[in-house]
Amino acid sequence: MATVKNLLNTKGNDVWTVPITATVKETLKLLAEKNIGAVLVLEDKKIVGIFSERDYARHAAQEESMLLDVLVSGLMTRSIYYVGPQQTVDECMALMTSKHIRHLPVLDAEQKLVGLISIGDVVRQLLEEKETTIQGLENYILGREYSG
């Protein structure tokens, strides 16, 4: 059963953040640069929010404005679900589905930020597992030696 730790081993531990003083424009630039869909917002090294493409789309629709010079703190989501490295990918899927979210920061036992996973990372992991299972079955049927 794959864990969050396995996901991070594949994707890496980079977590992109912006300070609470960042504007929407600066934040969107970071999202574009890193080709990601969400960033954490920090104040004095503490996580105070998460800002995603969805937050932007919903606020822009409501305000009928591009909101580029607005502070990201005005649009970010303040209640943030997170997971620990030992949790399973299944638990992540259930949480993402239940709360209708696409990103989960990963905090270790000391509450230290060690990564951020997305629904895309989860799907990629599951895809890899399916291929491994299929390959493993093929090897078994053809009598190839299992060297895992």
Partner: protein
């Protein structure tokens, strides 16, 4: 092996769309109202593009883009699609490789729905028989 048809079964089959002359404002309001992350762009009964939250986030940084900009100027024109008989796994592969979160479903040349990465994950959970309802009982649901 679950197919795209299985994914559509659990969904509302209304497909929301705008036209190339609809404004960004129109598209975003529709997406917010219907709680969706992407909208198809249709002209004379044909799909001519797709516009997503990601496209908004990237286009917002371009010059001269505002809420009055016609969707035809900011939409993505190359639209990948799937058919109802395709496996959910093939959708996962397409979404992963192309970094898409939405795929229109075409059957005999007709648009019959749009599936999202969220629909795929929901299906995968159902297959694993994980109960979402009992999630609230888990002590490990952490929040900041």
């Amino acid at each position: 092996m679950a197919t795209v048809k299985d994914l559509l079964q659990g969904k509302f089959t209304q497909v929301w769309y705008v036209t190339p002359t609809s404004t960004m404002r129109d598209a975003l309001k529709l997406m917010a109202e219907q709680k969706i992350g992407a909208v198809l762009v249709v002209e004379a009964g044909k799909i001519v593009g797709i516009f997503s939250e990601r496209d908004l986030a990237r286009q917002a940084l371009e010059e001269n883009i505002d809420m009055n900009t016609p969707i035809g100027e900011v939409m993505i024109r190359a639209v990948y699609y799937v058919t109802p008989e395709q496996s959910v796994e093939s959708c996962m592969a397409l979404m992963t490789v192309k970094r898409f979160r939405h795929l229109p479903v075409i059957e005999s040349g007709k648009l019959v729905g749009v599936i999202s990465i969220g629909d795929v994950v929901k299906q995968l959970i159902l297959e694993k028989e994980t109960t979402i309802q009992s999630l609230e009982e888990y002590i490990w649901v952490h929040m900041i």
